[in-house]
């Protein structure tokens, strides 16, 4: 019995990796709860290593989940609710990086790489086409003539 109590105490006090929304946090309205659920997946738990507040067991994650649900219940739109938390913890808390001047490269980089690479591939393949190879140079003509003259002797 004592072991059971000790074990329970240990398990309760120490957070382990397990995803994390508790039944008592959930909103009654399923549509609002679903919104909150989706939004919490986009918010980082700042005291964990690379988890969203939806996945994390940390106390701060729980607090932020509750605050998020309060804001949504109070009638905030999705972006207003997120902004509330960003105003307090910074843009670091958004797993979906904001579209700003300094994140332009981040968001448009992939497309730019594809476009530049596409142009490069196009130019490259045009150069590789047999039609572009052109005629033989004088040197190559001479080499070819010599090979033809030597009658296939190895």
């Amino acid at each position: 019995m004592r072991r059971l109590l000790l074990l329970t105490a240990a398990l309760v006090l120490l957070a382990g990796p397990a995803a994390a929304v508790n039944p008592d946090e959930q909103l009654k309205d399923p549509a609002l709860e679903q919104r909150a659920h989706q939004l919490s997946k986009t918010l980082r738990c700042v005291v964990c290593q690379n988890q969203s507040i939806d996945d994390s067991d940390a106390a701060l994650a729980r607090d932020l989940r509750i605050i998020l649900r309060e804001r949504i219940s109070a009638g905030d739109t999705d972006s207003q609710a997120i902004d509330y938390i960003v105003a307090r913890y910074g843009s670091f808390v958004q797993l979906d990086p904001p579209l700003r001047l300094d994140t332009l490269a981040l968001w448009f980089g992939p497309l730019i790489v594809l476009a530049l690479g596409g142009i490069g591939a196009f130019v490259y393949m045009r150069g590789r086409s047999p039609a572009a190879a052109g005629a033989l140079t004088a040197e190559e003509e001479a080499d070819a003539a010599e090979i033809l003259k030597s009658d296939g002797a190895r």
């Binding site: 072991r3 059971l4 074990l7 329970t8 240990a10 398990l11 309760v12 120490l14 957070a15 382990g16 990796p17 397990a18 995803a19 994390a20 929304v21 508790n22 039944p23 008592d24 959930q26 997946k41 986009t42 980082r44 290593q49 690379n50 969203s52 996945d55 910074g90 843009s91 670091f92 808390v93 958004q94 797993l95 979906d96 990086p97 904001p98 300094d102 994140t103 490269a105 981040l106 968001w107 980089g109 992939p110 790489v113 594809l114 690479g117 596409g118 490069g120 591939a121 196009f122 490259y124 393949m125 045009r126 590789r128 086409s129 047999p130 190879a133 002797a153 190895r154």
Partner: protein, 655 residues
């Protein structure tokens, strides 16, 4: 005593690596056969000594020699033997030793099997390999010595992190390292080719199998990592875009591009400079990955303990290795005879397009992983990049690539026509179109993505199997023989590309239809979820070899029948940490995933997930690796199956 032997073996290995660096490179330059032979011997001996060193460390772990500091920090007498052994690579120092071991074995492989190579080429490859080996051995000995002693030796060690006490630890790191380090062979070949100033048929024949030999374990390792995270971490995720995961994905993406380029190079002699550049960049990404995990530049659940001093050393290795090779590329590559010609619409053109997309995908992952570092340096604001970013950037780029995958093998070499190619593919097009049309009406706007994903998966699977279908149909007069004599490289291709289709199927299923539920339950209560009924039948204390647990048992009634599931929270007293073990019912149509949380007066928290089709993600991943293995086993394309050339006609002097 054994640890000292291990340490001494490492020192000898370092000296041999230095010899291996200098002798063959100088020998190739001077045409000195003796020096080049010295390089081969050095490579073989170096491998022997590192095997010895690794064995010494592993033995210390298995026998629980707590006088070795590493063993004291990561092992425990109550730890099962398999994990005592696997803990050899469960730390920074030990995993570095594994890295160096695999590097040496690959080097010995080049020395041993490279008899058919031009001697100067082999020497230069070994020389470059020696430089890399020496750099990492130096790193080991000077900053991360695995054989440090602990005095006085403790009676009992600190246990290995319980999350790592799993079969996954036995296989995941070795497979990944076989991949990362395996790409060093292609790297060495590329640099050797640049030094020599030419690329010939022998070079191409060598590079492709060795790239494949690295690609296969990397694919398997990443897949295994995903599956391990799924059942171990307790919340059913299978990919987190964590920086260290990205560090394994980037060399994989570029390595896939390298594989296909090497294939074209070998068959057609085209894409020469591309293959060289990709070989350099793929291994460089492996090095970047090592840097990421060990330097502390980014946070990650996977990262080893942070030590910036180690980070600087690895950065130095990266700077020299990649910097010098890219500089060499800039200097020498333009002069290398350019490869064969081809029309844009051809298999070579297809591979070029494939490379383009894979490079863009690699750039995406790279941007996502390193932007936080760059942006913070530029304007001191921390941002965060997580799964939502990749969903918006990676997925849209991957989709056209997946569609093109089916076209590639169907195109002719050198020159093809669009209409003819489409006609060849009419059956898969029709089947995929039917699936798309059938799936579209369901699910509204989001359903379009789902229907698209299902159609894409069908397209990949049917389109790949269709290669065999066409082949066997045209040989249908002798169907049995036609099937049996199918070249393994083609079977490998089909299995790998179809595996990609299975992967797409799994991802579509899970992303579209995943659902979850969380509630408090007391023993005896039931809940209905995703077409199943779960009843909590028991909740009690249990014991394991080195842990105590609170175990919940569930009786489940589902469409496939009735079965039991068990989920527990384990407490490891010596490591003072807790893990959650989920109960998972695996099925081809979907997984049921149960995980328990904290308990309170209201009962115990039970979390339920439904993961439709998720198992196909890992079946697909392993199928890709299997396809690669089948292709590798094709004797025609492996070096070593050397055929003695005979002139067809004996020249007869004219009388």
């Amino acid at each position: 005593m054994l640890a000292e032997v291990g340490q001494f073996a490492l020192i000898l290995a370092l000296l041999l690596a230095l010899v291996q660096s200098a002798a063959p490179l100088w020998g190739a330059h001077r045409g000195d056969g003796v020096l080049m032979a010295v390089g081969r011997q050095a490579a073989l001996l170096q491998a022997v000594f590192i095997v010895l060193a690794f064995g010494a460390l592993a033995w210390s772990y298995v026998t629980c020699d707590f006088s070795v500091q590493l063993v004291a920090e990561h092992s425990h007498t109550s730890q099962p033997v398999a994990y005592r052994f696997a803990a050899t690579w469960g730390s920074h120092e030990g995993s570095m030793l594994l890295w160096v071991l695999i590097l040496a074995i690959y080097g010995a492989g080049v020395a041993f099997f490279g008899g058919t190579l031009r001697e100067t080429l082999q020497a230069r490859v070994l020389g470059v390999q020696g430089v890399i080996g020496a750099a990492f051995l130096g790193f080991l000995l000077f900053t991360s010595n695995p054989f440090l002693r602990l005095s006085p030796a403790p009676v009992e060690g600190t246990e290995l992190n319980p999350l790592l006490q799993d079969p996954g630890l036995v296989f995941h790191p070795p497979l990944l390292y076989l991949g990362y380090v395996g790409f060093s062979v292609a790297f060495c070949f590329a640099v050797a080719a640049l030094i020599e100033g030419r690329v010939d048929a022998a070079w191409a024949r060598w590079v492709r199998p060795w790239v494949l030999a690295a690609w296969i374990p990397l694919t398997a390792g990443i897949t295994l990592g995903s599956a391990w995270a799924y059942y171990e971490l307790g919340w059913g995720g299978w990919w987190f875009w964590d920086p260290v995961e990205n560090a394994s994905l980037m060399p994989w993406l570029l390595g896939t591009a390298l594989l296909h380029s090497a294939l074209v190079l070998e068959r057609r002699g085209a894409l020469v400079s591309w293959t060289i550049l990709l070989a350099i960049l793929t291994f460089s990404l492996s090095l970047v990955g090592t840097f990421l995990v060990r330097s502390g530049i980014l946070t990650s659940v996977h990262a080893f303990a942070v030590d910036p001093k180690r980070g600087v050393y690895i950065l130095g290795i990266l700077a020299v290795t990649t910097g010098l090779s890219l500089a060499l590329y800039a200097w020498r590559a333009p002069a290398i005879r350019t490869g064969a010609l081809f029309q844009p619409l051809s298999r070579e053109g297809g591979v070029t397009l494939n490379n383009l997309f894979l490079t863009a995908l690699t750039a995406t992952v790279f941007l996502g992983t390193f932007s936080p570092v760059i942006i913070e340096m530029v304007n001191n604001d921390k941002i965060s990049v997580g799964p939502p970013y990749y969903a918006k950037t990676f997925a849209p780029l991957a989709i056209p690539l997946l569609a093109l995958v089916v076209f590639g093998p169907m195109l002719n070499w050198k020159k093809d026509e669009a209409r003819k190619a489409l006609v060849r593919l009419r059956i898969p097009l029709i089947v995929a179109g039917v699936v798309l049309a059938a799936a579209l009406p369901f699910g509204g706007l989001k359903g379009i993505a789902t229907a698209g994903g299902l159609a894409l998966a069908t397209w990949l699977i049917v389109g790949s199997v269709w290669i065999l279908g066409r082949r066997w149909w045209s040989g249908r007069a002798y169907l049995g023989r036609s099937i049996l004599t199918t070249p393994r490289s083609i079977v490998g291709l089909v299995v790998a590309h179809a595996g990609l289709g299975l992967l797409t199927l799994g991802i579509t299923g899970v992303t579209s239809w995943e659902s979850d539920k969380v509630l408090n339950m007391k023993v005896g209560e039931s809940v209905a979820f995703a077409g199943r009924t779960l009843t909590l039948t028991d909740y009690a204390l249990t014991e394991g070899p080195n842990y105590q647990a609170k175990t919940a048992r569930f009786a489940v009634k589902g469409p496939t029948g009735a079965y039991d599931l068990r989920s527990e929270k384990r407490w490891f007293p010596s490591a003072q940490s807790q893990t959650t073990e989920a109960g998972i019912r695996v099925g081809p149509l979907g997984n049921l995933y149960v995980s328990i949380g904290e308990e309170s007066d209201a009962g115990v928290i039970v979390r339920l997930w439904n993961h439709p089709l998720i198992v196909w993600i890992w079946i697909g991943g392993f199928a890709m690796a299997a396809g690669g293995a089948v292709s590798l086993s094709d004797r025609r394309l492996r070096v070593g199956a050397a055929v003695k050339t005979q002139p067809l006609v004996q020249p007869v002097p004219a009388e």
